[in-house]
């Protein structure tokens, strides 16, 4: 299994660092981080095309679902798999996020040692 190139968008610095470390330790991928929706759009506008986008749901100014709409309009990003990460535990919220076209939803807090495997499992289940 080849390592993934991942764009991770989260306003929480601790979670950005932990996610990056999780994938480094597991060898599951290389993570490029963005602290906001605007920062993520700048990264993508520079031409970077990740294999996967990990997207926090609740962020100030631009939330994850709002950012997803803008990402989908970018050249080459219409079908990039997106996995939402959220601390919201309600089933209805999970279904709403899946309904937006996400490949999956990861609940926060997550286990850093199994994050890479969880992501792989969600990608394997997602319709291509």
């Amino acid at each position: 299994m080849s390592p993934l190139n991942i764009l991770h968008v989260d306003d929480d610095e601790s979670i950005r660092e932990l996610t990056e470390l999780s994938f480094t330790l597991s060898g599951g991928g290389t993570v490029r981080s963005a602290a906001s929706g605007v920062a993520a759009l700048e990264v993508l506008s520079s031409g970077y095309r990740p294999d996967l986008i990990l997207l926090d749901v609740m962020m100030p100014k631009m939330d994850g679902p709002g950012l997803l709409t803008l990402i989908r309009a970018l050249d080459g990003c219409a079908h990039t798999p997106v996995i939402f990460m959220t601390a919201q535990t309600q089933e209805a919220e999970m279904q709403r996020l899946i309904g937006l076209g996400a490949a999956g939803v990861i609940m926060k807090p997550f286990d850093p040692l199994s994050l890479s495997g969880t992501v792989r499992a969600l990608l394997a289940k997602a319709p291509s």
Binding site: D12, I15, L25, M58, A87, P109, D111
Partner: protein, 94 residues
Amino acid sequence: MTDPLESLKALFIARCGEDLARLRRAKEEGDISGVGRLAHRLAGSAGSFGFPEISRLALIVDEGCRAGAAAPELALNELMAVLDQLNVGYDRLD
């Protein structure tokens, strides 16, 4: 050799001290959305660093702030007490 996860955990604990100060300020100023934002962040992160109790309490505060006009007092006080304990322990180790 230093465990990189332990290093990040120490950094997280140090940031909890800053979060506690922000929570106290937001509570004093009656800034419900500020309390909710901080609690939401802690709810989503603390458990990943080995502090599920902080995540549990923070989730109660987060959901309470979103549902009502006031932060749930009991859970907020408990959350601040746990953060304070963590902070004191960290200061002793430092």
